[in-house]
Subunit: 193 residues, 2 copies
DNA sequence: CTATTAATATGATGCAGATCATAATTTAAC
DNA sequence: GTTAAATTATGATCTGCATCATATTAATAG
């Protein structure tokens, strides 16, 4: 079930500007969102305003299904990180996709399993490991889908928000990893080795 | 796809004694495990031996699918907490279930979504919240499936292993929550209010 | 090119929770 | 009922990271 197929079936694209909010905690889920272009981040926010990035979603990915499937209110915000075109697929249409498109249901199972893997990995890190270990793990994970020599387009703040650390700690941690030779930088940005 | 149905189809039950290990990190996944009786816990262990409980699985539940589905080595141990009877369903049989049993595939999607919900909740807690908040969240989550007045059959150590805290911290934290009136005890055990 | 704004950097201080030690209590085993 | 093992309890100390303050550098806008 790709974007083109959804368009063929008459689903409409909605445009979202950077920083707009697709949904927020407490809302009842009504749609699953398929991304045609742009980027969003799913974040939970603590009482004192600290963001934790639960996931980042880009072109050709979808988000928002678990809440629909288990029929519970959202726990997180989803915020547009880069201007985006998104196709909201309603509740019933979504369940029809699952029922009638074996390929989609297989893809969904794969997608959910992948996210579980990521979250299990991060839970272990946050529960048991210290700053540098957490950083190295997330960096290795993120460099998985780029080529050797390419740079990771991510800020220290984003690394902080993915690892539950603070920017200052990330900055110091990254330095330590560089000194140790665990990672390399190019003009301040982490590159895959 | 319930246990009886699997038995009818000729799948065999395997007995596991308490403390035996169903699989450990690094192993290639070959089976999905359906629990007929007993209980297992899925844990990751840090370099210095600290356990983190990724999940607890009981009668009529299954575990081990994500690794099969994404075809990656296990990240965690699964250890038998109470003598168990388990039906290992091989790789191919499992994929046949997904393909040929729409009900099973729907159930799997539900199950995966529920686990994602739990893990997202815990990630937020571990990333952003302090001891007492974490404890209250996990206690509320656990008391979801018992009746008012019933006691939670869980030790402080287990609470520690689910929240990434240390026993002493859990003991002190539980006391604080009791003082605040957030939770109640009965002979040392937490009861649902 | 210059002005803003965002990102990275660095030191000083504080504190929540880990760690260590040791004891009291409850539960299980015989 | 007695012993052993597990669980809960409590105080003292240590430490990694948060927090706060303030620069420096890099990226972006006009």
């Amino acid at each position: 079930m790709d974007i083109q197929e959804l368009l063929n079936r008459g689903f409409r694209v909605k445009k979202y500007r950077k920083d707009s909010i697709v949904y927020e905690p407490g809302m009842l889920p009504k749609f699953v969102y398929f991304i045609k272009s742009g980027e969003v981040r799913m974040v939970t926010v603590s009482d004192d305003g600290k963001e934790f990035i639960q996931g980042i979603f880009k072109r050709d990915q979808y988000f928002g299904e678990p809440a629909i499937i288990v029929n519970r209110r959202y726990l997180a915000y989803t915020i547009v990180s880069k201007d985006a075109e998104i196709i909201p697929v309603g509740n019933n249409d979504f369940f029809n996709l699952i029922r009638n498109e074996p390929n989609f249901s297989t893809d969904l199972i794969q997608t959910l399993s992948n996210r579980l893997f990521y979250k299990s990995m991060m839970l272990e890190e946050l529960a048991n490991e210290k700053a540098e270990h957490r950083l190295l793990t997330i960096i290795n994970y993120l460099t998985n889908d780029i080529e050797v020599g390419e740079t990771l387009k991510i800020t220290r703040q984003e690394l902080a928000d993915m690892t539950g650390l603070r920017v200052e700690t990330v900055i110091r941690g990254v330095k330590i990893l560089v000194d140790r030779g665990s990672i390399k930088l190019n003009r301040g940005k982490i590159i895959k080795i």
